[in-house]
């Protein structure tokens, strides 16, 4: 094992891994983090804690990770390079590891224009791939950027994102390969609604031998309503929600749309599970974390075994 990560243990034992996203509150409300955390206990292997997602100010990911760790969760610290330079990023990696966090998901982050602080400077000192390499060098060489030795280097299990639906499609797998080469141990994908495109992506990844080197967790987001489906199709960066999915949501009566969204999510999990090279599933139930246990149960994913 490279790290103390539970996620690493699950994946290297060949189990189908389950992770879920938990968005920190827009404030210092500890109880809301605990409430979301409690609903996910026992049904996921690790919890992703988002980092000011869509550039809206929220409780720091490091702090929320620590709270979830206290509940018995295995947190995955999401880190975007949008808001912090390499000094702050490395410092927070030390701090998070000191608090017992041993998984990190390295991201560039949505542009600040999407959030509620549109006038903010975009830092982007590093990009996500450079951050992956930074965490890897900490673990493997015990050094920070520039080569300075670290006293007690963080040993993190390293994640990165992949968006099979962004353009140009042929380049997506090359970028995935770059992330793997830079040190990514696991990949969590963008929410999958277009299964055909995801399968094409996985075929390319398998052809390049990438599924042998990295564990790919397929991203799934349950839709709450046809409005949400349309919003994600048109307003959310890097999303591909096919017309067919939108029509299916629209066909359901208003009070049954949430159930339909959950059914689509369940079917998606069952389908991605059959795709060769998919090592697990990553649920992003946005402000709907309480539905995760029900979705997993319906998809036939058993309670988490201790590893």
């Amino acid at each position: 094992m490279k790290t103390e990560s539970r996620l690493e243990k699950v994946l290297s034992a060949g189990h189908f891994a389950v992770t879920a996203e938990c968005g920190p509150p827009r404030g210092a409300d500890v109880s809301s983090v605990e409430k979301k955390g409690r609903t996910l206990l026992g049904c996921v292997d690790a919890v992703n804690v988002t980092d000011n997602q869509t550039a809206i100010v929220r409780m720091s990911s490091v702090a929320a990770c620590s709270i979830l760790k206290g509940l018995g969760h295995e947190p995955i610290l999401q880190m975007v390079t949008r808001d912090r330079n390499r000094i702050a990023l490395q410092s927070d990696l030390f701090g998070a590891f000191a608090l017992g966090v041993c998984n990190v998901l390295c991201l560039t982050g949505d542009h600040q224009c999407f959030g509620n602080q549109k006038e903010a400077v975009g830092v982007f000192d590093l990009d996500s791939i450079q951050l992956v390499k930074t965490v890897r060098d900490m673990r493997e060489q015990g050094t920070m950027i520039g080569g300075t030795e670290i006293q007690v280097a963080p040993k993190m299990f390293i994640g990165a994102a992949a968006n099979p639906f962004a353009d140009p499609p042929e380049w997506r797998v090359v970028r995935l390969a770059k992330k793997v080469q830079a040190g990514a141990d696991f990949i969590q994908t963008q929410s999958i609604f277009n299964l055909d495109r995801f399968e094409q992506f996985m075929t390319r990844a398998r052809d390049l031998g990438l599924t042998e080197k990295v564990s790919i967790l397929a991203g799934v987001t349950p839709l709450k309503s046809v409005g949400m489906a349309r919003y994600m199709a048109t307003k959310v960066a890097g999303m591909d929600v096919p017309e067919e999915t939108i029509n299916r949501m629209a066909a359901a009566p208003k009070d049954k749309q949430a159930d339909e969204g959950i059914r689509i999510a369940v079917e998606t999990i069952q389908k991605v599970r059959e795709i060769k090279g998919v090592a697990g599933v990553h649920l992003m139930a946005i402000e709907w974390e309480e539905k995760v246990p029900e979705i997993l149960k319906a998809a036939g994913i058993p309670q988490r075994a201790h590893v």
Binding site: R82, R86, T108, D110, H111, C113, F114, G122, F124, D125, L126, D127, S128, I129, Q130, K133, T134, I145, A161, A162, N163, A166, D167, P168, W171, V174, R175, A177, K178, Q181, A182, Q190, A237, G238
Partner: protein, 222 residues
């Protein structure tokens, strides 16, 4: 060249209303090319100001003049005879021009009439595009002469990000994705292999992050 845009008259007036005589000074270089502060725009601004003051029953002295370049002392000195008889100078130069005037005419208030935007090119008549951030370490040779620092909204070195869709940037529909441009250009040159290699973190110390930059060349000094 430096690309700039002229400010609204109201904003300019807020800064100059306190003076009774104003020397309006254009710059016939970069900001003439982008139709913001050249000879023509200087005359137009002076006329617009006079009109605006007349409407308010005010009559400050407004004199216009245009320099070939506002950022070089040899040119700046050519308005020396006009400066003493005016209370303030309204500059249609870029930020560098404004500050050069302030250094040379150190006892005069120098007011900017332009918003300086970027280093760019005239893509076609009426369209100017930012394409250099002056990072101090040109990497264009590796990226098919498309600058990732400038043309990518996130300055990615190992792009494109997940927000690139149909060759457009996630920030705005009208921004072409810089990484899409880089890939297309390298593809047409048969050099796509350049992008498979990991690009390490940028050394930003050569950019403005290292503090205001200054070039000193002994061989060029008088």
């Amino acid at each position: 060249m430096i690309v700039a845009e002229i400010k609204e008259i109201a904003e300019i007036r807020q800064m100059i209303d306190r003076y009774s005589s104003i020397l309006v000074v254009g710059c016939d270089s970069c900001v003439a090319e982008c139709a913001a502060g050249g000879n023509r725009e200087t005359m137009l601004l002076a006329a617009a100001l006079k009109l605006s003051y007349r409407k308010d029953n005010k009559d400050p002295v407004i004199t216009e003049s245009c320099l070939d370049r506002q950022c070089v002392d040899d040119f700046i000195e050519r308005i020396a005879h006009l400066v003493p008889e005016h209370e303030a100078i309204l500059s249609l130069g870029c930020g560098a021009g404004v500050q050069a005037l302030a250094r040379v005419y150190s006892d005069k208030p120098i007011i900017p009439a332009l918003d300086t935007l970027f280093i760019g090119e005239t893509e076609m008549r009426g369209v100017w595009q930012e394409n250099c951030l002056g990072c101090g370490k040109c990497k264009l040779g590796y990226f098919g002469a498309v600058c990732p620092v400038t043309r990518c909204s996130k300055k990615l070195m190992n792009g494109p990000c997940g927000g690139s869709k149909g060759g457009r940037c996630e920030v705005r529909e009208d921004i072409p994705c810089g990484w899409d441009m880089i890939m297309r250009r390298l593809e047409s040159l048969g050099e796509l292999d350049r992008l498979e290699e990991y690009v390490p973190p940028v050394d930003w110390s050569t950019s403005h992050s290292g503090g205001p930059r200054r070039v000193v060349r002994e061989d060029q000094k008088p």
